[in-house]
């Protein structure tokens, strides 16, 4: 049971003079219980890829399948797939329409046919998960602060209880506290056996929270692996539009000069490496 993408390609405006290839043969697999980050520069095809994962875009060539159900045009499974794959768009607060927070969060699950006590339970479970006090339920979502609105919007996706959660740049415009809450939510989700697919341009954040990282550039897979493997690959290649975290650049330099043996993007680990090899090098 996993989400697999196999040799997926997509071209916008196919056959027109303005045609542009957004994805050129992407393959990867995301398992339940992991956080997979997809990292790429602006225009790398990240968002196009995200819309393929729940069938908003039907693959032109290649295959996307969720729990063995393949995404095809007019497929009866399409609604099942959308229920299994929750998609949180960039700036999700812009999708808010309801008069109360409760109604907004219930939109997803009631579209999937839930009602009564089960629906009530789902709403409050989602609010608890995102850290939104239950007293917000009768509030007008348009009167909330920016951060609260975003939490309502994410809760409205969580309330459908998807097995796969895809988030497109969820950290955009969040302050430090918001970011910490977001990362702990993503960790909690993956611990509960959900698959979190986190799309971002922020390599530092990806290295920090992910189990695996997929780096895409101009619609192509550049690298795929654990944060450690990715760190090692990045010491050899330069990826377009990708900013290396300072700690990683520092550890590349130290390794090159023979001061440390192991590359790391974690500041504490790096300090430990330096301390451990400090005497040996001197």
């Amino acid at each position: 049971m996993s989400l697999t993408v196999n040799d997926l390609s997509y071209t916008y405006n196919r056959g027109l003079p303005t045609e542009a290839a957004a994805l050129k043969g992407i393959s990867f697999e995301a398992e339940k219980g992991e956080i997979l980050s997809i990292v790429g520069h602006t225009g790398s095809g990240k968002s196009t890829l995200a819309m393929h994962l729940n069938g908003l875009i039907i693959p032109q060539s290649g295959e996307v399948s969720v729990d063995g159900m393949s995404i095809k045009k007019n497929s009866a499974d399409l609604r099942k797939i959308r229920q299994a794959v929750g998609l949180v768009f960039q700036y999700p607060e812009q999708q808010i329409f309801a008069e109360t927070v409760r109604e907004e969060i219930s939109f997803g699950p009631s579209n999937w046919g839930l009602s009564g006590d089960v629906l009530e339970e789902r709403i409050f479970a989602a609010m608890d998960l995102i850290g939104l006090d239950r007293s917000f339920a009768p509030a007008n979502p348009f009167m909330l602060s920016g951060g609260e609105k975003r939490r309502v919007a994410i809760a409205s996706v969580l309330a459908s209880d998807p097995d796969y959660l895809v988030l497109d740049e969820p950290s955009a415009g969040l302050d430090f506290n918001g970011l910490c809450e977001l990362t702990s939510l993503l960790r909690a989700m993956s611990k509960n056996g959900k698959c979190v697919i986190h799309i971002t341009h922020d390599l530092e954040l990806a290295l920090d929270i992910s189990d695996r990282i997929l780096i895409i550039s101009d619609g192509d897979v550049t690298a795929f692996g654990s944060p450690l493997e990715i760190s090692e690959i990045l010491s050899d290649i330069c990826v377009k539009g990708l900013i290396l975290p300072d700690i990683l650049s520092l550890s590349f330099e130290l390794k090159k000069k023979g001061r440390i043996n192991k590359i790391t993007s974690d500041p504490f680990e790096l300090a430990e490496e330096i301390r451990a090899s400090g005497t040996a090098c001197r």
Binding site: N54, L56, P92, Q94, I96, F97, F107, G108
Partner: protein
């Protein structure tokens, strides 16, 4: 999923051509004159002349004839509808066939063809204007055209500015609508099943966020304009002044000659 694509009526197609470079005022003048003339055109040879002019102009402006025809397609239904009405309600002595109380006359059929063709030519000609004139040029031209009215208190500059802004935001709004639709479809919204009322109601979760975004955008835009000291048309100069030179004279003169030809051919009814 309803996606908005293709060349729409009123879309600008940038290219480097004689027609594209013309002063928008000359193009507006010719379009207005052509509207009047097309309505005066009665004979079929004159209409054929119009059609050839339209395709020659399209050729000069490097607009593919296919996109020109495609852009007029939405209006085609309206044209066919009015034509059908004409067939039955013009009245006339020679009845060709009848459906119940409705009688189709030969005179009616000819009138139907004539009005239908006229409307179609009209749409195609005005489409040429918007295909070859960018929205900002168009509103500059309109501002100049309405300029004399501002002496009587008509806010020519403000109306033109409103038009420019409205046109500028059409693609942005399409994009945002598509994004909101995608977000709601991801949450299980269903726009395709159910009766008319259910389907109309399904669009509420799209329209409300869209309105919210529109108001926010308007607010931001107003602040941005004020921050750059915008205060209406008074004393404002242009970045690209409109220049009426010899190409414009040539265009207007050629159109005058063409008009004479149309009026001449118009005698064969």
């Amino acid at each position: 999923m309803p996606l908005i694509r293709g060349t729409a009526l009123g879309q600008y197609i940038p290219a480097d051509s004689f027609i594209h470079r013309l002063d928008p005022r000359s193009k507006l003048l010719i379009t207005v004159l052509s509207m009047i003339l097309i309505f005066l055109t009665k004979s079929f040879p004159a209409m054929a002349l119009w059609a050839s002019l339209i395709f020659i102009l399209a050729k000069i402006s490097k607009i593919p004839a296919a996109s020109l025809l495609r852009s007029a397609r939405p209006i085609l239904i309206l044209i066919i509808f009015t034509s059908v009405l004409h067939i039955f309600f013009t009245g006339g002595s020679t009845v060709i066939f009848s459906i119940g109380p409705l009688k189709a006359s030969a005179e009616g059929t000819i009138t139907a063809f004539r009005t239908g063709l006229r409307l179609y030519l009209l749409v195609l000609f005005t489409a040429l204007l918007t295909f070859t004139t960018s929205p900002s040029e168009l509103s500059d031209g309109l501002e100049a055209a309405f300029g004399p009215l501002s002496r009587f208190g008509f806010p020519a500059h403000e109306v033109a500015m409103m038009m420019t802004i409205a046109l500028r935001f059409i693609p942005t709004l399409f994009e945002e609508t598509e994004r909101i639709i995608n977000a709601q479809v991801s949450r299980g919204a269903d726009f395709e099943s159910g009766g008319l009322l259910k389907r109309a109601r399904a669009y509420i979760p799209v329209l409300i966020p869209l309105f919210v975004l529109v108001f926010k955008r308007a607010d931001t835009l107003a602040s941005a304009m004020e921050a750059r000291c915008y205060r209406g048309g008074k004393g404002r100069v242009r970045m690209y002044p409109l220049i009426w030179g010899s190409p414009e004279n040539k265009a207007v003169l050629s159109f005058a000659l063409f008009s004479a030809a149309v009026l001449f051919l118009n005698r064969w009814t």
